[in-house]
Symmetry: C2
Subunit: 242 residues, 2 copies
């Protein structure tokens, strides 16, 4: 395990790494689906909604579409998924769709996240580097008491991970060298992109992000600088007292 003394700032992936998006979205979707008597499993719906996430961002990463914030993509994807399931979206009010879309603002942290972040915050600058937009991250942080020092991420740099621009521009905003910044994520792909840009990397394993049958990201696929079982373990490995 390398020395952490050079690290000044930690940047966190959020969906899956800090919060449990699947349970949170399924909770709100479940209420919606039963209200409208739609016979779809709430977790299946959450997974289907999430599957639209990568292709929607790819439109922007590829340059085929100008940057729009994630709230906009989530809203478009919601209509797509409902239509795929045969729901007549026109029969549902804009307000109700918007409200369901904000399920992503109301996700619960994993049980170790807040305590781990509080420990890490005493020694490092901590900020999300999520594809979620600023308002989404702010609502989530206020509701869940995530103690961020700033809200960084896709909307600040107007690009989506894993585009190198996201990591490079964020390091520049921090006024640090890439090696003074550590990306923390439960996703090997995110860490690989960060490492390509010279950042340090910390893998936090989240084996049930995608539910009980998860097959991806169950272990570190490269020799990341740090590998931790949860956020508290990461704090310990980075030398933060309890």
């Amino acid at each position: 395990m390398p020395n952490s003394s050079e690290i000044r700032a930690l940047l966190f992936d959020v969906f899956g790494t800090v919060v449990d998006w699947r349970s949170g979205v399924a909770r709100d979707a479940g209420q919606f689906l039963s209200r409208h008597a739609v016979p779809i499993d709430a977790f299946e719906f959450a997974d289907a909604w999430r599957r639209q996430y990568a292709p929607a961002m790819e439109e922007i990463r590829s340059g085929r579409r100008q940057f729009v914030r994630l709230d906009v993509l989530h809203r478009e994807n919601l209509v797509k998924v409902m239509t795929d399931y045969g729901v007549d979206v026109r029969s549902i009010s804009t307000e109700e769709l918007d409200e369901l879309n904000h399920a992503w603002h109301r996700l619960d942290p994993w049980p170790d996240s807040v305590e781990g972040l509080l420990r890490l915050k005493r020694r490092f600058m901590i900020a999300p580097l999520s594809n979620g937009n600023i308002r989404l991250m702010m609502d989530m942080a206020k509701r869940a008491a995530l103690p961020w020092d700033a809200i960084l991420g896709a909307e600040v740099v107007r690009a989506y991970k894993p585009s190198p621009q996201v990591y490079v521009d964020t390091v520049e905003i921090l006024g640090l060298k890439p090696a003074e910044v550590c990306m923390v994520a439960a996703h090997n792909g995110d860490l690989a992109a960060a490492r390509q840009c010279g950042l340090k990397t910390a893998f936090v394993v989240r084996p049930v992000e995608h539910g009980p049958g998860q097959r991806s990201d169950l272990h570190a696929e490269q020799t990341w600088d740090f590998v931790a079982a949860d956020m508290n373990d990461l704090a310990t490995k980075l030398g933060c007292p309890t």
Copy 2:
């Protein structure tokens, strides 16, 4: 006094409104000046440095220069001011100049700021809308325990107040209507620009921001939506319990 029930987010000017830049800069400049035996009063030096602030930003507001963050402008202005005072800047190390430049990251809040912000945060989203850059605001907040929900401001929208773009784009990032956002500032000019963009306005009087002889911004020059003696008074006027 209008009803505050529509307001969802408060945006704060920071230099002068939340923190006492003059004392903080004079403290660090004073140490520097005595170390180099430069016979200039530290407060005079702070004032001279600050006088370069508006014209430097005007280069960017006018479009004559591309956006650069305030740390860069402060650093250029520091060299200018020293040169004006006859200091041989080449005799001073880059590290020492950078360190002094970071005096702006180490400013103390006014005595009422932290308590007032903590009260306001329970009811509203709170964020700086400063011309200071993200890292500057983050360092300041960590040191002074300013409990921001996010760091907004010039660097996020890549424009300087009082350009309308700063207020308009920030309201858009918040996903709110202008009337749901209130600008809080000790400066009538900042509030006038925010009001032009449809935001609500709160004037907090800071009668010694510029020292004992201050002549500007001693009172509200328009009928702002709220006028407060300090941040605690503002919290009371916005209906936040102690």
